[in-house]
Amino acid sequence: MSNLAVWQGDYSVGNLAPKTFTWGDGEISNTDIEGNAKMDADKLVHRIYAPYTQPVGTDVITEDKIIHAARFAGTIVAIEFMPIQVPTDGNKYYFLGVEKSTGGGAWARIATFFVIQTTATNLTVLTADIYTASYVANDLFRVDCNAQGTTGSQGQGLIMNTIFDEDSA
């Protein structure tokens, strides 16, 4: 018998136990996976939300804060920002963005910064343009927020999410 067998049409059998099996792309769906599979975390690319917030009802202040320490290499999916109350009636504004340090090196911007002036709109999601999405293990990420101006009312409250897809090993 030839070592190549071809059946035309459907084929139903009892248990099939191939030594190897070639899956078709996209063949496996949620319903194919046992509900109690508890797939190991080490087998997944993890989507990590690193939030940065300043409180509602309080003027935005200047500060730098580390938001994520990369355990493994990964890709930055998005940086999304929403001002709660934007500045009004003067020249006060603030700008903020995400910076990265590799191997203890200098902090450098990884994406466009958000500049929030009186012309901005409350509760509107803004998205940064990412310069380089990929990163390596042990990279550090921080938010650099700067409040500026002397007249009018400063913005109050903000939330920014930096979203990472990070390897498990």
Binding site: N3, D10, Y11, D40, L44, D64
Partner: protein, 171 residues
């Protein structure tokens, strides 16, 4: 009766075995349906949470105790803990310690580190510290908190640090 096929089998149609013993590690990411119909349920996966706690760069580290996480899932384990120091203490006896503690339903807090981490003037800016654990397995409703204690009177206190706890939680 078992039948054996020596070599490869190509089926030009649907293959519908009653049961199938899949070879280990035969499924890769590309085999999983990427459409919304195929999304894998969150309850089917072990989730890796990165619990973070930090103090601001450019500001002296201050004593603080803060809750980090209340476990919802049936069980979990800590895969890794890392502490990154932005600016280390210098020139005197100022230092700060970082401890990670757990409480179960009895609400008795106990360290889960083999020893709390001390950040003093022997550390360097940008140091990464990976403390060892004395407890890695946790249960539903366990609480985690970080305890930071700043001390000393001479020199410059450290400024800015980040604690990351990578927790694998089984739903």
């Amino acid at each position: 009766m078992a039948h054996q096929i020596e070599g490869s089998l190509f089926v030009d149609g649907d293959l519908a075995p009653k049961t199938m013993s899949y070879p280990n590690a035969s499924i890769d990411n590309s085999h999983v349906d990427g459409s919304s119909d195929g999304f894998v349920d969150a309850a089917t996966l072990t989730h890796r949470h990165e619990l973070t706690y930090g103090q601001l760069s450019g500001v002296d580290v201050a004593s603080e105790t803060k809750l980090l996480h209340g476990q919802r899932g049936a069980s979990s384990l800590i895969a890794d803990i890392r502490i990154f120091v932005d600016t280390a203490p210098t020139g005197g006896d100022k230092q700060f310690t970082v401890d990670l503690q757990k409480a179960d339903s009895s609400n008795d807090w106990a360290s889960i580190l083999q020893e709390e981490v001390t950040i003093d003037s022997t550390r360097a800016d940008g140091d990464e510290i990976t403390p060892s654990l004395n407890d890695t397995d946790f249960a539903a409703d366990d609480l985690f908190r970080v305890v930071v204690t700043a001390s000393g009177s001479t020199g410059s206190q450290g400024q800015g640090f980040q604690l990351s706890v990578f927790l694998d939680e089984i739903p």
